[in-house]
Symmetry: C2
Subunit: 132 residues, 2 copies
């Protein structure tokens, strides 16, 4: 019951998933990542990929996006809290920071007495390349 044990073991699979995410650009689904790992010759179970991604997401090391009508997408993100501007057509993603939005959300929540506030935001549009 000691709270000092990290209880996160350093396994080959976890490293593989983490490393793959480090090299990838953009968002990918769990099944995507699993397929890529197999192509590389890394033998990792699909279940483990899901578990690892959840763990990384909980730890805040990766970001999860739920596009309308699709599966969960995971991505290694830059530090800190930010949001995404995603192209509807090609999926190209831009990270955007909005301090004003953060504080607005906190303020609104506080006004209604809500505590322990978090929020999600996605902006969708058509990127310049796809608009043509």
């Amino acid at each position: 019951m000691s709270e000092s044990s990290a209880a996160v073991r350093n396994t080959r699979q976890r490293s593989a998933v983490s490393a793959l995410l480090g090299e990838m650009e953009g968002f990918h689904s769990a099944q995507d990542l699993h397929a890529m790992l197999r192509e590389r010759g890394e033998r990792v179970g699909l279940t483990t990929v899901y578990r690892t991604l959840q763990g990384l997401a909980d730890a805040g090391e990766i970001d999860v996006m739920r596009p309308p009508g699709g599966e969960h997408l995971y991505r290694r993100c830059s530090e800190g809290h930010h949001h995404h501007l995603v192209c509807r057509a090609c999926g190209r993603t831009v990270e955007v920071a909005g301090p004003a939005v953060e504080s607005w959300a906190d303020r609104v929540a506080a006004k209604h007495g809500y505590a322990d506030v978090s929020h999600t935001m996605e902006i969708f549009g058509t990127c310049p390349a796809c608009a043509r």
Copy 2:
């Protein structure tokens, strides 16, 4: 093949779903609504409930929320664009308007050349009643 026909027919089922949404508070899943209709004695197929909800959502008459790890929730909302502040514990929902957020999203998207912009935002927290 005339493209001029509005092609939206006024059926008993559509009215039933719409009326039910008009009386409900808060968000409900498609399956929820389907069950309520059955209890009322309205005979409406689950497929039709899904289709009707999608149609209403497309028309902007109702709002869709995708809570993390759950099913789609539908709700008749007040006019205009707004967002939701949802209690993690009890689901109590407050509608919040954030003109500043709207314009921020549009501005950010425009800066990156994205067109035809839309966005989604949900704020999660613990409401006063549940915080105690």
